[in-house]
């Protein structure tokens, strides 16, 4: 009972596997140095040493791309997209090879995601972001005139920012999207790589550098790994003297760690860590076809990146008696074992701890019922109330509710996306869901892949990234 001393050292037992090499990109130039070993035993990787001076762009000088016309940037991005699509330089293939070692996602899911990375670089999507979020490129390229209430004319400009991005690694699209946004801002961008995706950002940046060597946008990006929370790096870099904003993609620990550096002149732009749900109306039981359609759409939303993403549905509320919920659960479970664009038929085995929780529920029949197994093909639990654990790894919790309105109380500030079946019922729910804290109401089946130009986590990202400056 008396506690033993619980202090210890890192695992001295050497692992024979060579650490995976990880390249950095520093102001557009690739660094293949292999000076520092990171990672836990068995998952080691080797990165270049950090040259902190080269990771900042001094405020005494304008950033390399501050004066580059938006049209030129859009052209560069589109061109980069085409080379990503063909993987002209073989950089995505190289990244993919290493990714399978560090990412929890199966190779086939990564492959499909990589093959579609270029989609973020399509012109219509980029222009939609500029138009919807900023009202057009004019405010990026110059001073937009606005007439003040007293008749005076003032100028406003979306000025290029200095950004540190804390990337999430659960979906490769995060890196692509961050690079597109960072480029549109014309600002300087330091990307902090996560240990579960050490390769996508650098592969994209290197492709862009190959397309336009030495381009000011290329020189406006660095991507490097340091251990999240490493004060030797973060307390130095996370300062208003070097950067305006910290752009964090989830990672509760990272955000909490970064908070101590947030202060006047250094702002947090947080894509908060989120969770998502679905609500299925009684219309799903009007016919076998409707049930199949709802189950397919619900499975699509639940398995996005094998449920590793924030948009992936974990709790699904089904209108009507428990028999409806059971019919739906059975149909859903069957559709979860199907490969889709961003998911695999199989998947990682259900985590041991989660499995224990579920095993116990199997013993509490009547109140609980379980479909599927722990092999990664999908598992569904029906319960009278949402379960207290976090369904993950292709596990969905189905809860019967008398009416969809009764599901609203289960949505909250942590809920990002709510998928609704059928689409027509969104209207009756969306205000109440928004009031509860929900950010996004979608037609069931559409949770994955947020369309460019719309808000994300309750704000317009591009607009938040810019520094808005006046000439009054």
């Amino acid at each position: 009972m008396s506690g033993a001393t619980l202090s210890g050292t890192e695992n001295p037992a050497g692992n024979t596997a060579e650490p995976t090499p990880v390249a950095h990109v520093v102001q557009g130039e690739v660094d293949h140095g292999a000076a520092v070993v990171h990672g836990r035993p068995g998952e080691e990787f080797r990165t270049p040493a950090l040259d902190l001076d080269r990771l900042v762009w001094p405020r005494s000088q304008a950033g390399p791309a501050f004066d580059v016309p938006t049209s030129e940037i859009v052209d560069l991005l589109v061109e980069t997209g085409l080379h990503l699509k063909d993987d002209t330089y073989g950089l995505l293939a190289e990244a993919l090879e290493h990714m399978t070692a560090v990412s929890p996602l199966p190779a086939e899911v990564l492959e499909r995601a990589y093959a579609l990375l270029w989609r973020s670089f399509q012109r219509p999507g980029i222009l939609a972001q500029i138009d919807n979020e900023l009202g057009g490129a004019d405010v990026l390229d110059g001073w937009r005139e606005v007439v003040l209430p007293d008749g005076r004319v003032a100028g406003i400009r979306a000025f290029p920012p200095r950004l540190v991005h804390i990337l999430a690694g659960n979906a490769p699209g995060v890196a692509a999207q961050s690079i597109v946004r960072g480029a549109i801002t014309k600002g300087v961008n330091l990307l902090k790589l996560p240990s579960n995706d050490l390769f996508t950002a650098t592969a994209v940046l290197r492709t862009m550098a190959a397309v336009a060597p030495g381009h000011p946008i290329v020189r406006s990006f660095s991507a490097a790994y340091w251990r999240g929370g490493d004060t030797a790096v973060e307390s130095v870099l996370f300062r208003a003297q070097f950067f305006d904003k910290l752009v964090a993609w989830g990672g509760e620990g990272t955000i909490r760690g970064a908070l101590k550096y947030i202060g006047p002149g250094f702002e947090l732009v947080s894509f908060d860590p989120k969770t998502s749900i679905s609500v299925i109306g009684e219309q799903a039981f009007a016919s076998e076809k409707a049930l199949r359609e709802a189950a397919e759409a619900a499975a699509t939303d639940a398995t996005f990146f094998n449920q590793a993403a924030c948009v992936a549905s974990r709790f699904q509320f089904v209108e009507g008696p428990v028999e409806n919920a059971d019919r739906f659960a059975a149909a859903l479970c069957e559709r979860m074992g199907v490969a889709r664009e961003f998911s695999s038929a199989g998947g990682p085995k259900v985590d041991a701890e989660l499995r224990e929780e579920i095993e116990v529920l199997r013993g509490l029949e009547d109140d609980y019922r379980v479909w599927g197994g722990y092999d990664g093909h999908g598992l569904v639990i029906r319960s009278p109330e949402p379960v207290e654990f976090h369904p993950d790894g292709k596990v969905v919790n189905v809860i019967p509710v008398p009416s969809l309105a009764d599901a609203i109380r289960y949505a909250g500030v942590a809920t990002q996306t709510v998928g609704v079946y059928p689409a027509a019922r969104k209207v009756e729910l969306r205000d109440a869901l928004a009031s509860a804290g929900v950010q996004r109401v979608v037609t069931l089946g559409m949770a994955g892949g947020m369309p460019p130009g719309l808000s994300h986590d309750g704000f317009y990202p591009l607009q938040r990234l810019m520094r808005w400056v006046n000439d009054e």
Binding site: G3, T5, E10, G228, D272, L364, G412, V413
Partner: protein, 447 residues
């Protein structure tokens, strides 16, 4: 014929508990594991279901036990709404899937709260021990009279092993935890007091028993917060209630410190959780007591680790220096394991013979046990002595275990010092945009 389990259990009662020839011991443990599995799979549905699923019909080798191990999760996997909405029969049904309890043997009609429910189990011969983690949810571990009998034997014969303290009731005693309650440390302190404290010379910090419903308030408020139904006033009341209880207790605590200070040169028995031990030391220091003034026959017991890291890192050293040359217990253990692994003269923690250590890889899937030499990995074990529940458990600790002979001259296995929790090795820096709802409950109520 004596069963292997009985034979191993009986080793608690004589002097060479920790010096069993290892080859014979392991054969005996495997036989006991067979008996134990055969008996428990009949009575514990969760074990039966697991065994059916992984296709283990009997234990042929140590590796067969690995897929049958539970983790702490199983023992706190009850739906909280069984408690919040008073579904005591549902809770009992849950409990009967993770223990040898049969629903029919416990009467839960008219149960008023969780403490009452626990009392009903007690009345039916099932002693429940709780452990609380950071999630605010409490684990329920079942034990029966035979399990407590083993604990008694361990305490009577092995307290302060390798220099066991003779069970003589010669000390003035102090217990700083609640007087009673379903925690193994409290039961343990009381048993120690019955063995080592002069009759009538035991002082308690409080006569109040530990109330599990109080302990669970944290977990319940947490649930309300994730549900979004907790009001600011409820949060405030929760925080100030913790403060007030501290205030009332302080006066009694001060009186105890005065008493201990006055009698410190006599043989004493002082049992407390580490945070109380630390507060006690500070109180005595404030009264001018220097290090090392205690009687060498005094028995000082502490427990509970450094939950929430409220104590300074060097608190073990500070306490050791302050008490100086008294009798203390150094051991590695957990509520889930009967007795514990006491440290030998060389500081290695010897695993009691009724515990079969199973060292696994980090994911907890592959058995790394050897017949000789040192193995590093996740600490798991099968405690074959346990009657009240399945004794197979996988822990969160990273350990090194020497399966060969120990430097102290006894045979192994022994857990070497420098035990680390896998959770403390630091996150793996994998960042995702997906969250659990817990991210949205601010740290203050993670008591």
């Amino acid at each position: 014929m004596t069963s292997a389990r009985d034979e191993l259990r009986s080793l608690a009662g004589f002097g060479e508990t920790f010096d069993q020839p290892s080859r014979r011991l392991r054969a005996l443990q495997l036989e006991a594991a067979r008996e134990c599995f055969a008996a428990h799979r009949e009575r514990i549905p969760l074990l039966r279901r697991r065994a059916d699923e992984v296709g283990v019909k009997e234990i042929g080798a140590e590796a067969d036990i690995v897929p049958l191990l539970f983790s702490h999760t199983s023992y706190k996997s009850y739906p909280l709404n069984y408690i919040t909405s008073g579904r005591w029969d549902g809770l009992l049904r849950w409990y009967s899937t993770v223990s040898v309890v049969e629903p029919g043997e416990v009467d839960v009609t008219g149960v008023t709260d969780i403490d009452d429910w626990i009392a009903r189990l007690d009345a039916a011969g099932h002693r429940l021990y709780i452990t609380s983690g950071t999630s605010g949810k409490v684990s329920f571990l079942n034990s029966v009279e035979a399990d407590r009998a083993l604990l008694w034997d361990v305490m009577a014969n092995l307290t302060c092993w390798p220099r066991p303290l003779p069970p003589e009731r010669t000390r003035r005693g102090y217990i700083l935890t609640p007087a009673a309650g379903p925690m193994r440390s409290i039961d343990g302190f009381r048993m120690h007091a019955d063995l080592f404290v002069t009759e009538g010379a035991l002082r308690l910090l409080t006569d109040e028993p530990l109330r599990v419903s109080e302990l669970m308030r944290t977990g319940l408020l947490r649930k309300k917060m994730t549900d979004g139904t907790a009001t600011p006033q409820e949060v405030k009341e929760f925080e100030s209630a913790s403060g007030e209880r501290g205030g009332e207790m302080q006066a009694t605590f001060d009186a105890l410190i005065d008493d201990i200070t006055e009698h410190r040169r006599e043989p004493l028995f002082i049992a407390a959780m580490n945070n109380q031990q630390y507060a006690l030391m500070q109180g005595m220091r404030a009264r001018g007591v220097p290090d090392g003034e205690f009687h060498p026959d005094s028995l000082v017991l502490a427990g509970g680790g450094n939950k929430n890291n409220v104590l300074p890192d060097d608190y073990p050293q500070q306490l050791a220096a302050f008490y100086g040359d008294v009798r203390r217990i150094r051991s590695y253990g957990m509520t889930e394991l009967q007795g514990s692994c006491p440290a030998c003269e060389k500081g290695n923690y010897h695993v009691p013979p009724w515990v079969l250590p199973l060292i696994l890889d980090e994911p907890g899937e592959t058995l790394l046990n050897e017949s000789e030499g040192t193995v590093e990995g996740r600490f798991a074990f099968l405690d074959v002595s346990l009657e009240g529940r399945w004794g197979g458990l996988i822990s969160g600790d990273r350990v090194r275990v020497n399966f060969g002979d120990c430097e102290c001259g006894r045979s192994g296995p022994a857990v070497l010092p420098d035990i680390t929790r896998y959770g403390d090795l630091g996150g793996d820096d994998k960042i995702t945009c997906a969250a659990t709802l817990d991210s949205y409950v601010r740290g203050m109520i993670q008591a």
